[in-house]
Symmetry: C2
Subunit: 336 residues, 2 copies
Amino acid sequence: MAFTTLNEVAKEAGCSANTVSRYINKKGYISMDAAEKIQKAIEKLNYYPSINARAMKKYSSNIISVIIPSIKNDFYVEIIREAENKLKEYGYNVMIFETRSDADKEKYILELSISHRVDGIIMSSISNLSDKLLNTITNINRIPLVLMEILHEGVDCDYIYMQNEYGAMILTEHLIKIHDKKRIGLILPLLENNVSIQRFEGYKKALEKNGIKYDDNLVVFCEINKANGYKHTVELLKDKNPDAIFTSNTIFGTGAIKAFDEMKVKYPKDISFVTFDEYDINTLFHPYITSLHRVDKKFGILAADLVIEQILKKRNNPKKIEIDLSLNIGESCGCK
Amino acid sequence: MAFTTLNEVAKEAGCSANTVSRYINKKGYISMDAAEKIQKAIEKLNYYPSINARAMKKYSSNIISVIIPSIKNDFYVEIIREAENKLKEYGYNVMIFETRSDADKEKYILELSISHRVDGIIMSSISNLSDKLLNTITNINRIPLVLMEILHEGVDCDYIYMQNEYGAMILTEHLIKIHDKKRIGLILPLLENNVSIQRFEGYKKALEKNGIKYDDNLVVFCEINKANGYKHTVELLKDKNPDAIFTSNTIFGTGAIKAFDEMKVKYPKDISFVTFDEYDINTLFHPYITSLHRVDKKFGILAADLVIEQILKKRNNPKKIEIDLSLNIGESCGCK
DNA sequence: CTGTTAGCGCATTCAA
DNA sequence: TTGAATGCGCTAACAG
């Protein structure tokens, strides 16, 4: 591989490297004549500045890490896009990473981000497994950090978080109070996932408030994939006689839809169906699927604003922003 | 921000920076004693090597750029994941970029990749707008390059490409020959997109071969988004009396599904419906949607192998790998 | 307005 | 087995 350097451009333009640098960074004054020659040299030699060298010199990479569980999830993709657009306004580039909800990969990506000397990290971490490393990042390395979705006790940084427990509760309660459901099947990610724990708590709270005994036959914990959503919906329908199904995310939700389709179980006629997250697919075709609405959906923009604030204003008193949830009534629960 | 350096680790461990470097890179011999002290120092000081400094020294960043039109598209997401897994086997990290099919962004990302001194680029570029830059990359900078989806005449690098024209032809011909359709509505991306051109050609060829006159009222070119898929399906249905709809990608496809749903047009009863790409959503619920099957679906792995070959074996005779397409019959066209 | 100098953090010579 | 010296490409300080 072969790359032109600043020095080569300088030589070609008949000036010093410093002048070229100032031209590129638009710092200080440069004569028209020099500017022209430099521009020509840059084009002639196909010069592209080395980000590595620049980052070393400036103690700043101009990169923000955006780390999410999955890019196969519209919710997170929107966050990335919003954050990227916002950050670009301030001249930052984004490195996109997905953890696949894997603790080792999460750790690897965080360490990689430190090694890249990124100027900030926006992350959706749904377990506590990286908390120690996150503490190093924010306290020792002092990299501006924004965590999304849930609070990590003991990691003192900016947060944008949802009321997962409350959300699961109102969704469950809707099924109980409005549609008189008593046997609500729930499909959840494994409990090492804190979001899962919170949604599980919300479900149980709704039952308790409404005098329904918790039946652990109706609750399934499994790895997040469509196949599991399908499989466990089939099993619930076959063996557990549920009068409703509540999937904790859209991946499980699509598995459930497939199961309903194959078993010729129609919602809401034969069973009520609700899912936590609000996605495109929920209203792709009728019956529309009941879910929860994030009152402020701009996680990505909010997160970007928080990092930028930390960087530019050197703010270091952490902020916590709570995202409200409300019912997003469709037809799948039995309404309309 | 504050980061520990190799020198600080060396001081803490009571040895030279060189020894620490050799320890980290597992190169050359090191006494057990030294190794232990160094490891302790690394942990105590939270040392994470600077990728920037390393890249400068080694003329190699260990990064491969994977550039795709959209991360909101399962086809590309799979490519990313496959490539990432494969590349990690060889010790490479991946930088993920999406161009949103925007020529300026495409150029920006390519230049950014050069500036990062990436060790290779895997890209799906569906226009010819960056061909000049791609030539610089492969001929001047000599960065290993693999292009996906379509051939770019004049860019001499590795390719993994599909028979877009053939695919559109057999899909159209299926509608004509098997289901006796004569007025097939087609929704395509704008023609600056080469994939679009090829699929359009395939459509026309199928009509011609079967003695059907081309009617440009039935063909729509528009920007790729769901709203356009919806809008143009509605318009076709209302005004153009089509007996089939062919959407050129899944984004348009979901828009079409929404339009069918709202207008209470049932496929395949009222109209035939086919879409080019094979996605999860096609078989999420019945009727399953007829599409094209990529005989070798591992674009990502193939691409990673090609870059690795270029890097490790210093291969520079370009390879072209063609991906075959075959009909993937569902029910939406009218077949059972 | 421009050039000279120094040093960012690291890996790679070469000596010892 | 280890240390000292060097330089990757760039920008910031300082001189001129």
